[in-house]
């Protein structure tokens, strides 16, 4: 299977371990990634100008259409942005006309139906839980973990078509292949706070704290993320707050492919685990 790999802007500089771990895990299942250089998904600029965001995303959809490849997003915000663009381009002929004009200058064109897949969907639907289960060498049997869904893949479901927005199961299903035990926690569908980081830091940290506390109270021993921004918030930002006490140091945040890779027995170096600010303790 081959995908147009779209890591977005932040992974290369701020979260390279997500890239390493994702390549490492997908490599096991004969998935090849086309690593063409791509522009921003448009999510960050959407606050300023919706059309600029749609044009950014449409360029990526158009490049994928040209290459006839499905898109693979490790980041939920990138995923959401591409889905929004696709939705509005299908529903707004005038917007579509303007975007088409802009794309033509780059010798590109948008067409509906380019598959946009989030990493979780690729793992669960394209690879399949059975094949993943076969590769587990060092299971996390019984480890209570909290999966954090991330907002922009899940909602608005009419646009993203990712999973049931009120009771999603895809993440739990995947994590269970490692033997870990996903806990029920009230805020598993809530925001990590990162969208406000740098804009309203106090509120951003408050939202993160709420989430951490909810996972902690549910007895989780690890917080698993599948989104660049969630991990940046729950690991990097949490660690960077020197003025605050380190929140819930016994609750490491770990990326889904790092977690899977570790359960498959892949090396710490290949998964970039040493870059995480809190190490994952082995299952007892």
């Amino acid at each position: 299977m081959r995908y147009l790999y779209f890591p977005g802007c932040k992974i290369a500089g701020n979260l390279p371990q997500y890239d390493w771990a994702t390549r490492s895990v997908l490599g096991v299942f004969d998935i090849t990634l086309d690593s063409t250089e791509l522009n921003c998904c448009g999510y960050p600029v959407r606050d300023i100008d919706f059309t600029a965001a749609v044009f950014s995303a449409a360029r990526i959809l158009a490049i994928a259409a040209k290459k006839e490849l499905p898109i693979l997003c490790p980041c939920k915000c990138c995923f959401g942005s591409l889905k929004h663009a696709d939705y509005w381009l299908r529903h707004q002929p005038d917007l579509r006309h303007r975007i088409d004009t802009l794309l033509r200058e780059d010798d590109l064109s948008w067409e509906p139906g380019v598959p946009v897949r989030h990493l979780l969907t690729v793992l669960v639907e394209d690879v399949g839980l059975g094949r993943i289960r076969e590769k587990i060498r060092k299971p996390f049997t019984g480890l209570p973990v909290a999966v954090s869904y991330g907002c922009h893949a899940l909602r608005p479901a009419g646009v993203t078509r990712f999973d049931n927005p009120l009771a999603p199961t895809i993440f739990e299903k995947l994590v269970k292949t490692t033997g870990a035990d996903p806990v029920d926690w009230p805020l598993h569908l809530d925001c990590c706070g990162h969208p406000l980081w740098g804009k309203n830091d106090r509120l951003s940290l408050k939202l993160m704290e709420n989430k951490l506390s909810s996972a902690h109270m549910a007895g989780a021993r690890a917080l698993i993320t599948a989104c660049t921004y969630c991990q940046l918030q729950l690991d990097t930002v949490r660690n960077g707050q020197e003025t605050l006490p380190f929140l819930y140091p016994e609750l490491p945040a770990i990326l889904v492919t790092q977690f899977l890779g570790a359960a498959m027995g892949q090396s710490t170096g290949a998964l970039g685990l040493e870059r995480n600010h809190i190490a994952l303790k082995p299952a007892k």
Partner: protein, 565 residues
Amino acid sequence: MFLNLCAYFAITICLVGVFHRGWRWFTLRIGPEAEGAGFLERFKAATMAFAVFVVNPRRLGSALWTLLSEVLLYVHILKQDPWRWITHMALFYGILLLVAVHALDKWVTARIFSYYASTLNPFLFLRNLLGVLVILGVGMAMVRDRADGGPRLKKRASDRLALVLLSFLIISGVVLEAFQIVSPSIFTEMARDYMGDDPHATAALRAFWAEDFGVAFEFPPPAGDSNLLASGQKLHQDYCASCHSKPQAAVLSYPLALVLKPVAVPLDRLRPDLIFYYLHYLVACGALALLPFSKFFHLLSAPLSLLIRSGGDAGTDLPINRPARRVLGLDACTHCGACTPHCAVSPIYRVISNPLILPSEKTGALAAMARGDMSEAGCAAFSEGSFVCTGCGRCTRFCSSGIDLQDLWQSSQIDLKRSGFGSAHDRIRTKTAAEWAQIARARDGEVKLPAAVDRATIHLADNPESFSACVQCTTCTNVCPVVAASDDPKRDLDMTPQQVMNLLRLQLKEMALGCRMVWDCVTCYKCQEHCPQGVRVADILYELRNEACRRFTIKSIRGVKPSNA
């Protein structure tokens, strides 16, 4: 004498200019570090860092490797773009060698080769060859500029100045040499000086030089007189050959000399060779004097920047040294534009037509801002472009001059925030929702989008269809994590999501534009997902932010006075 004076004058200006730019590395400030530190303190810190660098064999080794691979061979440019590599090699080595073996021939070439004369081969041929190389480089650079021009990279006059000066320098040199080849006056003077006044001998030498060296004479010697030519050749061997090779080796100037030959005699009274001698010399002095004030300065600053990078990125510097690296980095920018095609947000420029979104254009603006030469409108435009950056870091990776651009953008964003030119979120925070509503009403109708753009914009907040279904059930408010995170939503957020929807129903959109709820929305879409009436609550909040950005530009608000601009 006059020319010597010009040369000394040019050297003085050049040195003063270089010193001035060096001075700025330790006095201008970009970023929050080194606040309060003066020139001496910063210079001392940089010198210490340099000393630490030099005594570390591993770092010194990597610096030497950088010197070889990047400063001398441009391997990093070759990997990106072979066309640019050829251009750069031709220009750099063409000029460097011309300066060394031609401009400084008295001190360099003559010292190495005791028999050196500028009109002797291989020097004559090589000088012309280097000229060809520079012209090739200039031509390739101009072709590339034209091809790259497009909307993404605007060429500035200062970009062209360097190429124009180089063209003038080479062309004036070639014309000078061509006139010297054909000049009858020079022949007469030199024959007299070296051979004396014997009319028979002079006639023989004239015949030989007219035949073989292309000199133009008013009364050309009789052609085909083999005896005369033979004795002319003998005299040439005795008196001239030790300094003069045949000019055919001058691959640039000899063909031009053939073209100029018919006008050489009539023009001779004006001594065009002397005119072009002065011209060539003065252009060279001009280029030297302009070195620190033009793109030529990257001859010094780019290698320095590359060597500094070999020791690590800006994050590895002591905080006090970071502003110096930043100012030097801006000096090293040649506006080559290698960064912009890789910039993740460069496509946005096509929708928001502010060139200061593009990294290649931001360096110039940032340099002006650091010098304090930026108008309020300029700062506003720089702010708008600057906060579009997503920090992908590709500009830094592709910078030919080794500038840590990512660090420049991050540190200048802090400067922008501090001087009242922060992001849209910062800007909105400076006033209350009620004040923004007043501004919006006072300026109602001022912002008109072009018809095509307006049609292509999704108008949810203006279209009753999108919110009239709202029954004020408060579901959106109840599921909102931002509301939940506040003890007092009225104080912290002005309004709850369902109240914002109500404002739209009451046609009071202006009151919502600056409301905290709108700007503290985390875009989690829970409100929209849970709305039993299918109202696109989160999309509407997004749209209100877009509209506020359009209407409350820094330029349009006089009230936001930068604190120290």
